[in-house]
Symmetry: C2
Subunit: 239 residues, 2 copies
DNA sequence: ACAAATATGCCATTTTATGTCACATATTAG
DNA sequence: CTAATATGTGACATAAAATGGCATATTTGT
C-alpha cells in the first residue's frame, strides 16, 4: 500500500482545488479503474470528508464548498502564538472576526499534550491586559527583538534571568539584569514586568525598547504576586 | 485496509500525547506485531512526520517535541476568520505573539482554492483600518449580531442589500435599508460603511449597534470608491 | 427515449500487509 | 566488559486487502 494512501491525499487535494470532477477523469488521471475511485471516495466519506456527488448527466464529484480548507500543521511555537493571539484578541473585545474562532481554540487546546497544555497555562497566567495606552509603538522599534519572542516560548517567564540592553526614552542605552515575571499589554505596547537585578525592585520595561536579550544562568528567585502589586495594579490577568 | 489508516492516525495521536513509547507497548496496544509497528513508523517517517527513536535500554519512539501539535481542520468560515484576524492584528502592530504566524498565514492562503482565494481578496479589499477610537464598545452590545457575521461570510460586502434595525446613540431604534460597501475598524469598534437606501447617501453604522440584519433581494448598485471618499478619508485599506 | 453520470454488489486476480525468525546495531546498568 | 533492552532491517510464507471487470440500479439533463 502507501500507493493508496498517496492517491487518497492527492484526491483530497484535487477535489479541494477543482470544483467538479467526473469519476472517469479521476480514474484516468490516477491510472486506476473507475471502480477503484468509487471505493476511494467511499473511504474518504467514511473518514468524514463531505464529498458531494451530482448524479446524472453533467454531474460529478466535489468537496462540500464550505469544508476544510486543508489541514494546518502547526509547530509548537506557531500553535502557542496562535492561541495566545486569539485569546488576547478576545479579551480586547473587537469581535467581528472572532465569531468562529472558538472551535479553532478548542481544537488547538485539545491537540496539546498535557505537559504542553500546562506550560501554556502558566504562560497565560503571566499575561496581563491593561488599559489601552496613549503612546504609540516607537517607530523603528516596532517589533520586540527575535530574542524576546524566543525567550517567551522557552519558558521566559518565571524561569530565566535575562541580560538585556535597554533604550531609555531619552535615547540612552543601558545594560540590565532582569528576572521577568509578567507580560503586560497596554495596547499597542507590550511591557515586561521584572525584578531589576541591580536595584532589587520591580520595574516595567517596554518590549519595543529591549534591543537585545540573553539568557544568563544566574539563579532565578520565585516571588509571590504581592511583590509586584505596585506595578500590577489596575491590570487584569488573561486567565 | 482502512484498518491500517486508522492505526496510523491513532499512532500519530498517541506519539503526540505521550513522550516516549516502546515499540513493544505500541504493538501490544494495537494488537499487531512489533514488526508491523516498525513498518508503520517507517511509513509515517516517509510521510514527513519527524519521529525520533532512542535506541538501547530505556529508549523508545517519540514525535519531535516541537512538531505539529495536531492538525487543525478548518471550515471555510473558520479559516477566513483566522486569516482576517491575523492580518488585522498584524496591521494593528502589537507584535509580540505574531512572530510565528507568518507561516500559519501562508499555509492558510495556500490551502484555499483559487475561487475562495479570490473571494477573500475581495473581502480584504473592503476592510479599512482607521485610527484607534476614543469610544468603547457599548456594554451589552459588545458583539455584533450573528447575522452580521454570517452576512460577511456570505459575501456581504458589495453584493447584498440588507434590512437592519439600528439603535441610535440616544437609544431610539429605527429600521433602515442599506447597501454595505466597506467595513472599518477603529479599534475596538467595527463600522459598516454603506449607502443608506432612504437618503441615498453614504453613511457609517456601528456594528455593535446593529440589532438585526436580514438580506433583501432588492438590487444592489455597484458604486465606485469615489462615492465614499467623504467617509473613507484618513483610513487605510487592509490590502 | 436516450445518454451520461453516480452507486453498489459480486468474484477472480493481483498486490500489499502481516507475522515469524534471524541478525545487526546502539545504549545503559551493573 | 558484559548482559539486558532498545531500535532497525532483511527474507519468506501466508493472510488480508485492493483492484479490475462486469452487471445492474438510479438519477438527471437533452
Amino acid at each position: 500500500m502507501s500507493k493508496r494512501l498517496r492517491r487518497l491525499e492527492l484526491l483530497a487535494a484535487q477535489l479541494k482545488q477543482e470544483c467538479l470532477c467526473t469519476v472517469k477523469e479521476l480514474a484516468a488521471q490516477h491510472g486506476v479503474s473507475e471502480r477503484t475511485i468509487a471505493r476511494d471516495l467511499d473511504l474518504m466519506r467514511e473518514q468524514g470528508l463531505p464529498i458531494d456527488a451530482d448524479r446524472g448527466r453533467g454531474g460529478g464529484v466535489r468537496l462540500d464548498r464550505n469544508w476544510g480548507v486543508g489541514r494546518l500543521n502547526l509547530a509548537y511555537h506557531e500553535a502557542v502564538d496562535l492561541l495566545i493571539s486569539i485569546e488576547v484578541a478576545e479579551r480586547m473585545n473587537s469581535p467581528l472576526f472572532l465569531a468562529n474562532l472558538g472551535t479553532v481554540k478548542r481544537q488547538l487546546i485539545a491537540s496539546f499534550s498535557p505537559e504542553k497544555r500546562h506550560r501554556i497555562e502558566r504562560l497565560k497566567s503571566r499575561i496581563l491586559i491593561g488599559v489601552t495606552a496613549s503612546t504609540q509603538v516607537q517607530s523603528g522599534f516596532s517589533s520586540p527583538p527575535e530574542t524576546v519572542v524566543r525567550h517567551v516560548h522557552q519558558g521566559f517567564i518565571d524561569q530565566q534571568r535575562l541580560a538585556i540592553r535597554y533604550r531609555r526614552e531619552d535615547g540612552a542605552v543601558s545594560k540590565r539584569e532582569i528576572e521577568p515575571h509578567y507580560l503586560l499589554l497596554k495596547y499597542p505596547v507590550w511591557y515586561v514586568i521584572a525584578m531589576d537585578g541591580l536595584r532589587d525592585a520591580p520595574r516595567t520595561f517596554r518590549c519595543d525598547r529591549i534591543l537585545e536579550s540573553e539568557m544568563t544562568d544566574t539563579s532565578f528567585r520565585l516571588l509571590p504576586k504581592e511583590a509586584f502589586d505596585s506595578v500590577l495594579a489596575g491590570n487584569e490577568l488573561l486567565v
